[in-house]
């Protein structure tokens, strides 16, 4: 595909895809900031990292999500934010798969308390897939933009 051939509407759709992911990232980060102690417990429930690391992740990850969400909104930061956001979603998905494989029945912990008790790991994985697809679609838009710079 030659990105320069994209119509204005295609480009707008791709930008909208990125902004949708940005909004979800900022929302996810903001909801977790309400109760980092609880988020630390939820990370600990995955039994992937030592407790202290879970605590550190619990205060860092929400801000990282917000930073990446805001980064997706700014042209200068967009490409880096897009790559890092994809990496973050893949890491979250790997953690969910690890929990599923080991039969851990845990809350996703994806949205603090805002999703009313937590969604199932399977649904969270499906949602991550959609977000990754949106990030990928948004990237096609970025390449033609880079030409202008």
């Amino acid at each position: 595909m030659k990105p320069a051939d994209a119509s204005p509407w295609t480009r707008r759709a791709r930008l909208a895809a990125l902004l949708a992911v940005a909004a979800i990232l900022v929302f996810a980060g903001a909801t977790k900031l309400g109760d980092p102690a609880r988020f630390a417990v939820e990370i600990g429930n995955y039994r992937l990292v030592p407790p202290l690391v879970a605590g550190l992740l619990a205060v860092y990850l929400p801000w990282l999500e917000i930073a990446l969400g805001l980064g997706l909104c700014a042209p200068r930061w967009r490409s880096a934010a897009r790559l890092l956001a994809a990496g973050l979603l893949l890491a979250f998905s790997a953690a969910l798969v690890a929990a599923l494989v080991r039969g851990l029945d845990i809350r996703c912990g994806c949205f603090g308390g805002a999703d009313g008790g937590g969604m199932s790991a399977g649904r969270a994985l499906a949602r991550n897939g959609v977000l990754l697809a949106l990030l990928w679609a948004g990237g096609l838009w970025r390449r033609e933009r880079a030409k202008d710079c």
Binding site: D35, A54, L64
Partner: protein
């Protein structure tokens, strides 16, 4: 390396490091920050150190909380077979129903003691922590050793002593 890729790397590094500053502030000053002292207890999942602090053995409980309301956090089948006299069933799986019964039975002043099957079950800790949060009550404890300890101390036979 082209200017574009340098800019890309710089942006990526800043996006990763930038959140460290507010994260540090969150770790130090957030009213609901993780309990760092407890998390340092190696090998325990987060929350376990907090839960471990709630554990009292039967003798301590009887001495300090003689009028406690007892909560059975074991599966319904075990509760039906036998339980501590007067204990109410409450598990995380069927929370609403059990919690409503508890609120009805609890006078708001008595301590609450939660137990599960034995030394290695974790259901009582989970229920106790949730009760502490939901009732905003600091007098919720866990019976160390659970139902096995109760049986051992009272001579309550397996499958009997129901009320």
């Amino acid at each position: 390396m082209s200017g574009a890729s340098r800019a890309f790397i710089r942006a990526a590094v800043l996006l990763l490091l930038g959140p460290l500053l507010p994260a540090l502030a969150t770790a130090l000053w957030h009213p609901r920050r993780p309990d760092w002292a407890a998390l340092r207890h190696a090998g325990m999942p987060p929350g376990a150190a907090e839960a471990a602090a709630l554990r009292l053995d039967l003798a301590e409980l009887r001495a300090a909380h003689p009028d406690a309301l007892w909560i059975d956090a074991r599966p319904a089948r075990d509760y039906a077979a036998a339980h501590v006299p007067g204990a109410l069933a409450l598990t995380e799986d069927v929370w609403e129903e059990g919690f409503a019964r508890l609120v009805e039975a609890w006078d708001g002043a008595a301590s609450i003691v939660v137990y599960c099957g034995g030394e290695h079950c974790r259901a009582s800790e989970a229920v106790a922590l949730r009760l502490r949060r939901d009732l905003d009550c600091g007098r919720v404890f866990v019976l160390a050793g659970g139902w096995e300890a109760w049986q051992a101390a009272t001579g309550s036979p397996q499958g009997g002593a129901t009320r």
